[in-house]
Each structure stands twice: as structure tokens, then as C-alpha cells.
Symmetry: D2
Subunit: 283 residues, 4 copies
């Protein structure tokens, strides 16, 4: 995979943004491999993502940032530029269910997911051997009703220690405290095992079976303080029928969960997801 700079921009829409950014890039010899634009007419906000061959520009990442800063200021941009050659550090958190964790680990192991995984954190010791087979450190941080604060203090310490860019809750099943949500805005990805906003909270497959729905789903979203209400990155569904018990739904749902989570994580790692209020633009 060619090394690219990924430039992402969000700013008030007006005439001339595309021209200005285009001139900047071509002025430095930048070869654009991929470009996405979106104008949100309702809010008047403009969003943009470019992938530029890193080798086509004589600028390092810091120089790029310096050179681009005046344009960003002129157009009042929220923006960022990433080097695809610098892998994100992603900490995975899981509980006892292995399907999402195993799937992410396999994708990482077979080089489908381009990131570093400095460690896995779990409130159970169940999945240690699977994680360690991949050569990844495993931290067992138990939690119960009485030690939640202590649990999350230790989790925070591990996250900090490993300089994580992203935390993926791969069926972690614990509700993150508000202060963690606030410290890692747009950096914590969760998979919820329902087609949100249906069946928020606990036991969504039981809720789905109770209501008699004909499709069940999963939702990958950024974690915010409000439970299961953060910006949605991806969703998908699978057909069920009267024949499917709650246990069948749990089994069938696993495949949707792991696929949707993997797609969401991949989009995030490639800097394809821009947040806009409580929604996402996924380029």
C-alpha cells in the first residue's frame, strides 16, 4: 500500500474552498489518489477528505501542517492531516464473548487492519490465551458492582501508558464513565447488538424476540456519555423469522456484529469518518 497523507477538513461552505485546497496540493506537486466532498445544505457545513501520495510532495507531515495552516485559518477549518505510514495505536476491550475480538485479531494478524494493537484489556481472563497467541499483551482488570471506579482508574492508566489513539469496545459490556467518554471524544468505538435506536441498553436480542421483528441488526458507533446514543458509523441487519429463538438471534447476530464492527473500525483507521454533531460523514 502506497504511503499517503490523509487530509480531512470541515468548514463553513463557500465558493473557493476546493480551488484553494486544490491549488495548495498541486502547487506542492501533490498527486491526489482519492478525494471526497460533501456539502451539508441543512447546516451549511462543508466536508472534505483527500488522500495524496506522500512521495509526490516534498513536505514532511509537520511541514505540510505549517504550510496548510494559513489556508485553514482563512476558511475557518477544523482539519487534520495524517500519515498512513504511522499506524494508529488501538486498544481492544472485551469481556467473555470472543467473536468480535477474534475477528479483529484475525484481521490484524492477516494484515487486513492496518494498526498497532499494544494490548487487550478485559474484565475476565477467558480470552487471555487467544490474545497472547497473537503476541499481544493481555490485561485482566476485574470489575464488579463495588469496584467500578477502581476498575476504570486502572483501565485509564493502561490506556494512557500505551498512548492509545483509539479504544474499541469489542462487546466489552460495561458502561464507560462520563469522564472517560469526555477524554476520548471520537476515539472510542462500540458495537451495540441491535439496530439502534431500537433496543437500547441490555439484552437487545431478548427485546427483539419479544417485539417479533423480522430483521435483527448491529450498530457501530462512537461512545458518548448518553448510552447507545453516540454518532453511528455503520449498521447492518440480518433476516430472522418466527423459527429463531433468542439463542438463534444471539448466534446469527454475532456475524452481523463482527462485520459491522470491523467495517467501522476500518473506516476510522483510514480517517474516513468525520463527525458532525451527533452524526457521521463516512467517506
Amino acid at each position: 500500500m502506497e504511503r499517503v497523507y490523509r487530509l480531512t477538513i470541515s468548514c463553513p461552505d463557500r465558493v473557493g474552498i476546493v480551488a484553494k485546497v486544490g491549488q495548495f496540493l498541486s502547487g506542492h506537486g501533490g498527486w491526489i489518489l482519492e478525494a471526497n466532498h460533501y456539502s451539508d445544505l441543512a447546516s451549511g457545513q462543508f466536508f472534505m477528505r483527500h488522500c495524496i501520495k506522500a512521495d509526490s510532495m516534498p513536505l514532511g507531515l509537520e511541514e505540510f501542517k505549517q504550510e496548510f495552516a494559513p489556508i485553514a485559518a482563512e476558511f475557518d477549518m477544523q482539519w487534520d492531516v495524517k500519515d498512513s505510514g504511522v499506524a494508529k495505536k488501538v486498544i481492544l476491550m472485551a469481556s467473555r464473548e470472543s467473536h468480535c475480538l477474534a475477528d479483529l485479531l484475525h484481521r490484524w494478524h492477516s494484515k487486513e487492519l492496518d494498526c498497532d494493537i499494544p494490548c487487550v484489556i478485559s474484565n475476565h481472563d477467558t480470552l487471555r490465551s487467544m490474545v497472547e497467541w497473537h503476541g499481544i499483551p493481555f490485561f485482566h482488570v476485574p470489575v464488579d458492582k463495588n469496584n467500578k471506579e477502581e476498575h476504570f482508574r486502572r483501565v485509564s492508566a493502561i490506556v494512557d501508558e500505551h498512548n492509545a489513539d483509539t479504544i474499541v469496545l469489542a462487546r466489552y459490556m460495561q458502561i464507560l464513565p462520563a469522564d472517560l467518554c469526555q477524554r476520548y471524544v471520537g476515539q472510542v468505538i462500540n458495537i451495540h447488538h441491535s439496530f439502534l435506536p431500537s433496543f437500547v441498553g441490555a439484552k437487545p436480542y431478548h427485546q427483539a424476540a419479544e417485539r417479533g421483528v423480522k430483521l435483527i441488526g448491529a450498530t457501530c458507533h462512537y461512545v458518548t456519555e448518553e448510552l447507545d446514543a453516540g454518532p453511528i458509523i455503520d449498521q447492518d441487519v440480518i433476516r430472522v423469522s418466527h423459527k429463531d429463538t433468542v439463542e438463534d438471534m444471539v448466534r446469527l447476530g454475532k456475524d452481523v456484529e463482527k462485520m459491522v464492527l470491523a467495517r467501522g473500525v476500518r473506516s476510522h483507521l483510514e480517517d474516513r469518518v468525520l463527525r458532525h454533531g451527533n452524526k457521521t460523514i463516512v467517506f
Copy 2:
């Protein structure tokens, strides 16, 4: 299409039901074309549907009922048997939106839907010409805030007059009064333009856009007194993205609505839908 008897049964599960029904049918020479069984382990209820070649049995529909009644009594069955040669009478109700109505009318016109449509009722006159082109009477029964009772009295009268078996709300957009719901339990089919239970009530596409979901859907269900909460017959979804405005969702959703409604109506017309509490078995 071969004329068949459609025998549907729901009863407490126990050993011997299948054998007894099988013996009854074969004892009268009944050639089974299709058979479906479902045991609901949670409730202990058993469900069954058979299609039998009508010509293979020397029994008319009434004789069939008389002969089968003792077995039904023995096993405490809720049951029914229909002759596929007797078309159901289906009244369609619509408002101003044409997509569901046009779709159902076309399927009926091209003989894909096997039913009679004695008339269409609408609270607007907009779709009169389309309906009348099909040779179907059109009743315009206006409604406003002050004449709802009068409106539904007239609607009821038309339904009664035409001996309707089934009422299909093809985006009718008015909430049926409780007494109508109670009189036509399991006979009124609605299409709701969301993936229920998400986005109950008015303007579901606006709600979906607001929440930033990545799939929108439609739900075909039997109407009960509680709004958008009746037994679900079928559902489906379509992918949307940040690029889709509410108007795009309305347009994209139309295709899902009309497909899901047509599938649900077809299942109902073929006596494939058995109700079980607030859920459905769709054979």
C-alpha cells in the same frame, strides 16, 4: 394455479397432532402440496399450515369443516380452512401518496395478487383517475380535525357494504379508531415507513435523518389499538448515507415500503400468516 384448501391450525403442542391430521387428509385422499410446522418451545404452542389439492378430496369446503371439527375439538385447535378458489375481498385505503397504491393495483391488474378489490377509499380525491382506470370504484371520504367520527362511520359503512375480508392501509396516514381495530382484528394491514420499533408515529424519515442512521426501513404489520405496535408481518431496509437528505430518504423509502407491503399482503392473502400474541408466524 391449482385450487387448494389451505388448512391453518394453532393448538397446544403434544404428540400425535401431525399423525392425526396426516391420517385425516390421506384418509380422504388429500394430496398435500405444501406443509409447514412450527413448535414454539417457549409457549408450548404448535402451528401448522397445509395446502391440499382441492380436487384430490371428495369434500367440499363445508364438508371438510364438518369432518375435521372433531379432530380440532380433540386437540383444542384454533383453526381455519380456506378455498384458494374463493378470492378475498380487499379494500385499499390511501391518502395522496400514490406509490403503494399504484404498486398494489399493478400487481392486482397483472394477476400477481390473487384477490378482489371491491373499492378504494381515500380521504383525498387525488388518486381517483388512477384507480378508476383499473375499473375499480373510488370513494372519496374527506376527513379533517372536526369530522373524524363521521369520516370513520362512512368508511365503516363502505367496508361493511362490500363485505371486505381485509383492509390494506396503503399509506392512509390516518389513525384508525379503537372500535374499528377491534372489529377487524387480524384483517387490517398497515405499512409504516420505518424499521419498527424505531421511529414510531409521525415523520419517521425526519426522525431517521435526525438520528443519523445508516439504514432506513419499512414495516408491514397488523393494526391494533396501540399505534404502530401491532404484530409485524414483514420488514426490510435500504442503505442510506450522510449524502441522503430527508427528501432522498422519502424517495428511497418508497421502494422499500411498496415491496414490504406487497410481500405482507401476499402472505396474508395466501393464509400464510398466523398470529401468536403480538407476533406472527409467517409460513
Copy 3:
């Protein structure tokens, strides 16, 4: 819907295209509502589509073309610019099957498809009344084994007389002669009732049933001289099972056919489809 200019470009990829086009547009005050880019790395070809608010530029369509021509020449572009306010003239051709024609006519009638339909041509008289109800002239041009040449001469004459931009074969079931294919390259859209390249030619549902596939599909493509081998615009599938007879597949397939055809036609009408050899870029 806001009136827009749709600028589509295909040219050899190199640094500076985006900047140059961006400058041209912003230099004339052009407000970009939508922009799509695609670099085909294998062939080194670059593709681009912009929608610009027509009112934001002081240029009429002809002036736009004149002003842009030097840039196009510099970058060796194949290009076009269309005014969304000028509806395309689309002639529909059908045979006896009504589902695709009825669907397109309804979408046109309800203003979902933005085009003019100067007439419908059919080799049977079956669908005349349906077409004429929409206020559209219907030409019955019979065809049999012995008058194919004469048939297509008359068809060509009607197409010419109405200055058609696009011909849609809505299950027309006749193979277009080579000279017609050559005269209307990229302007004739067909729907084939299989998931191409499976089941080319006649009776694809019979072929599908014979092979025992578990999904059937439909393919919307531009017509070329080679049967069912032109550039694919869109495809979709629907699940079938052992229970589905050929007749069931025909019925189920109709829904896929009409949806895929409508999506393909819509993309074509909005100038979203760029051809690249025997493939398409669909923005």
C-alpha cells in the same frame, strides 16, 4: 430542485487537474454542490463529476462550454456539461410484460424521474391503454421473423423524429441490430433478467432454476453489439430457495428488474454514469 450544471470529465491522470477545474469554477463564482473524483490506477485515467449551482455562475451553458474548452484541451479531456433544467428525452420500449414499463411510468408521473417521455414503442399493442392514460403517445410497431429490418427502420424513424437522448429497453425482448447499437453508443439502456455474466441470452430464469442457484438477479447495462455484454450500470439479487419454481422466480425477479432498471435510468439521467472501456464509473 435547484438548477445545476453537471460537468463530467475523463482524462489522463496527472497533478493539477483538480486545482485547475476548481480555479475555473471558483473564478466564475461557481458554487459546488456535489463533487466526485475517481483515479483508475490500472489505466491511469481520471474521472470527475461536479454539480454547480447554475445561478451562482454568470455563464449560460454555451458560454460555460466556450470558457472551459481551453482547459479541456490542455488536459486532453473527454468532457461534457449539462443543464439539469433541460430534461432528457427518453423513449421507452417494451413488449408485453408491464412491470418495468409501469414502474418507470409511475416514477415519471410522480415526478421521481426527471425526464421527458416523448413516446413509448412496443412490438405489441397490449400496453397501449396504460401508456395513453399517462398522456404519452404509444407506437405499436409489430415485429416477426420476416420483418425485423422493416421493424427497426420504423423504430429508428420514430426515435429520430422525437430527438431522443436515451432509449430504455424496459423488457423489450428484441435484439437491437448492430447499426442501431453503433448510432446510440451509451444511450441505450437495457435490463437483463439475470445476474450477468450468468445466464446470458434467452430464458435466464429457466437457466437459473436448472442450475439450482440460491440467488437470482437483474442487470441494467448499456447495449452494445455483443448480446448482454455491454457496460454494467447496476445489478441486484434476491434470495430464492428450492421451493421456488421458474414461475416464482419470474415473479420475484420482476421486483429486482424494475428496481435495478429504475436506479440505472436515474443515474443515467443525472449524468452520474461515465463509461470506461466496457465498464462504468457510477458517481
Copy 4:
């Protein structure tokens, strides 16, 4: 999971089969948990599958067979009855690609797939460590152009030695010799990385990219002597666009391959797949 007898039957259709089987089962106290029927009208063949609570019948598997044999003879049945408590022995074969193998192993490890896996055979040593972590013996049996016969002699010997009921080719990438196909009719399951019958043979994703299809797929089928032409058990597709390179298709296709293979294997293990000529009935 309750232990069940799975009775599968295929015989010429006539009146009385259902009654006779039903009587047999209820006569021995058999509690039917699941029942499926299918009449193939074209061929006049009838198919049936029952799951009966093993504990509800006073018959062991051999007694069941003895008691049922006269009925089977009377109706000219091809039939079998399996005890769900006896796990099938399934040998997995793979090459260098890990996604299908890892997926099946994880489903087995997490008890989603109910079978024994006596060993994995591969023509490369690449996946040894992954297999052995699961506690499963791994046989590396190299193959090249000159030792194919020797390779398959060793493979056959391993299969025989482990008394395998089923062989799953989890992207094994070698064509099985005719004699192996004949010895294991209906017991060898393959995953082909295209939506068959499109793109038979080598490099189907390259073929798909070349043709410009808008959906790619995978097909799980029983292996027969004719390459990629055996009875299809399951298929699925995923949407692609002009943006997807062959490499993207390979990556996206992996998810379809592993899902379709897992579903097909599961159906086979639960005795849900009945063959009918070159097609399958999947109950």
C-alpha cells in the same frame, strides 16, 4: 441442545406419506420438534426432514432404523436417520489463506459448530500454529505439479485413517481427482469465490473486475467431478463499485466466503441438505 433424531427422506410423491411417517413417530411416542416438507412438482419427488426428541422415543438409533425400514421400503424411500448426539467428523483442508479456516475453527472452538475436527490438512505449513493452538493435529502434505497423485494418495490415507464423514475445502485451491470425488459424493464441501455459475475456475475476482460487475459473491457447493459445477448449498453477494480494485474485491470477498461457507457447513452438519440431481433442498 436437546438430543434429537434427524430423519431425512426422499421418495416419489403420493398420498399417505405424511400420515404414515406421522403415525410411526407418534406410535412410538415421538415428539416432533421440527418438520419440513417439499414436493417437487416438476419431478414428482417428495422430500422430508423431521427432528424428533430422542428421549421421547423408547428406540435407540438401530432400533429406529429397523422399525422404520418396512415403511421406507413400502414408499421406495431414500432415507437416513442421524443422532444429533453423535458429532460428525469433519476434516478441514486449506492452503495459505487463513480467513475461512480461522472462521470455522473459531466457530468450532466457541461451540457454534457442532462437530469433531480430527485434523486439518494443508499443502502449505503456513497455518500450522493457528490450527495447533486449537488442539487439532495439522498435516502438511505438500503438492506440486509432479506429485499430485502422491499428494492425493496421502490425503486419502489421512481421511480414511480419521474416519471422516465430511471434508471441507476451506479455500484449498487444488482440484480434487475424480476418484476422490466419487468416493465422497455429498461429503465434500467447497467454497468458490464467485457467484457461480459466473467466473468458474481460477482468479474469479480478476474475472469480476474485468467484467465490471457491481456485486461479487461466493458459492458453497458439494464437489463433483466437474469443476465448480456441483450442487449449490448457499450463495451470497456483496456490493462493489468502480472504486474497488481486484485487491479490494479479494478483501471484501473474504467476508462473504467465510460466511457462506460457515452457513453451508452448518446446514450440512444439521442434516438439512438433501441432494436432488445437481440441486439441493436446504431445509
